[in-house]
Symmetry: C2
Subunit: 320 residues, 2 copies
């Protein structure tokens, strides 16, 4: 239903292993993908995975800080230079649009495709198309920040095979016609209406991608019915206490406790302070999460993909 | 005298092997270094070499285009986040400063160090300090573009050892005192004036770093007395003819002919179109250069360093 590929998992500054924040989100609907946040060198990350900027449907920016947005001008410039014509949706705070407008003005950046800005301060439902809706939910950070709730719905026709067998129709070409919505005439002249032998098989999934935020409970509404939450956990609780509330970030403990409280089945932590970018540091973060949360847990890695299936199971795919 | 380390050698868009333009310039004067152009992800490149942003004295930007400037906000933000307090010189077109001001305003970027802007449109001598001067020279490109002439001068006292031996002074501690500028008294009571037995040994070198430019001859004045020129050569002449004059770039032929005409001893070509980022492509560029230029020639590679010694010889150091 969803495939999430992390292009950057470091907070504030890049490290050798982890870039600043960006996440590619694909759905089972089509080839389109969405980018959530666009730290510097996101376009460089894309050169190492199978996604192209031409299939990029839109970019969602959680907040204006540079480690979530400084990759935008270069990504747009490269899309322009490599011939993109397709309109691009930009769901972002007004400050991001204002900065891009200034960038276009001062740096002689010409975009040969429409950039359609949707202000996250306007409506909660920031995007809707067949099978996909995107909502924004306000968070608590020193700059205005939002999380995005991606809800996907796929529908296909499923034959009522038991009813067909009971009616004495053997599996074969007739089944295919019924599934495609065509009524069929049997050898005995009787007619089977497709509507009587097929039902819509609807699958739904919800993934919530948080921005920088020191209060995970603000995502309670967004997480209703969600299978997976991606949330920053910049520090351990002990270091967060030491650093103080100034940076307005979350600790692992805070996020893990929230996920446990709402019974969330899958949690992916990301946006780690550079101090944890070593095996001991990551083990420390994971141990703190495990103290509070018993669901499926991942600490995101750059270039790793995580796939959520229709059964609500989240699996890590191999890093590319 | 100079060490040039290429952090990006691709024109317009990054490739897997080559980032967009940036060049680190070190001199034999001190630990300071200078950055010429700052394409996106320059800060990421710096994580893989021995230079730190804390020893960065200044940044020279040749022109506003994104592939030469989009790394600035992230580099400055990371310098701020990792505690830089030292003032930073920014020698750049006014448009770069205007864009950075807009970036600081819209993206809540706080710089805890002074950023001292020197407008390249003002005077030719854009920077001068003990042993180092930097001039800008106007070029021809679709956006206003300049090249930078770095002139370095080191001076140390050299003893006139022949004269000392003729005077009957054996080598030893007295020589050290004379070299340090102290007059000395011999056992026989006679006085040797340091000024009579030492001469200043002055070494000079000039490196010219061009910006985007379709007319290398504009650097004739800058190259007077220069040992090395770094210049863009985006295409072969055949492709440049095919592409037309719109991009206002140089071909390899154009640059090589200019270097030959002025008798320049060392030439480094860079800023290659992504189409040449393969062994055949680079061989094609090199062959065209060799047709016209017989001096020391290098086609720049990312992470490669080139060292110019006091004798005017340019050597490639191993890629890091």
């Amino acid at each position: 239903m969803f495939k999430l590929t992390f292009l950057g998992t470091s907070s504030g500054v890049p490290t050798k292993n982890r870039n600043v924040t960006a996440l590619a989100l694909q759905t089972s609907l089509n080839r389109d993908w969405w980018l959530v946040d666009c730290g510097e060198a996101t376009q460089h990350r894309l050169q190492h995975i199978a996604l192209t900027v031409h299939d990029l449907a839109g970019i969602c920016i959680t907040h204006i800080h540079g480690d979530h947005s400084y990759g935008l001008p270069g990504l747009l410039a490269s899309a322009a230079m490599t011939g993109r014509k397709r309109p691009l949706i930009l769901i972002a705070p007004l400050a991001v649009k204002a900065w891009l407008d200034a960038t276009i003005l001062h740096t002689e950046l010409f975009l040969p495709f429409p950039l359609i800005h949707v202000d996250v301060a306007s409506e909660q439902l920031v995007h809707q198309e067949s099978g996909l809706s995107i909502e924004r939910h306000h968070l608590s950070h020193r700059a205005p920040s939002v999380g995005f709730r991606f809800a996907v719905e796929t529908s296909k026709w499923k034959l009522d095979s038991a009813a067909l067998r009971a009616r004495g129709v053997p599996s074969g070409p007739l089944w295919g016609k019924l599934q495609a919505g065509q009524d069929v005439v049997l050898d005995d002249g009787s007619v089977l209406a497709a509507a009587d032998f097929r039902v819509a098989d609807v699958q739904r999934a919800v993934a919530v991608i948080g921005g920088d935020n020191d209060n995970p409970a603000l995502l309670a509404e967004a997480c209703a019915g969600a299978q997976v939450l991606v949330h920053e956990s910049t520090y351990t609780e002990a270091i967060l206490q030491k650093v103080g509330p100034g940076p307005t970030h979350s600790s692992v403990q805070r996020v893990a406790q929230f996920a446990a409280e709402i019974g969330l089945p899958n949690l992916i932590l990301t946006h780690f302070s550079a101090r944890y970018d070593n095996p001991q540091g990551m083990a420390e973060l994971e141990a703190e999460a495990r103290l509070h949360y018993a669901g499926t847990l991942f600490l995101a890695e750059d270039f790793a993909s995580y796939e959520l299936d229709a059964g609500g199971v989240l699996r890590k795919l191999s890093a590319q």
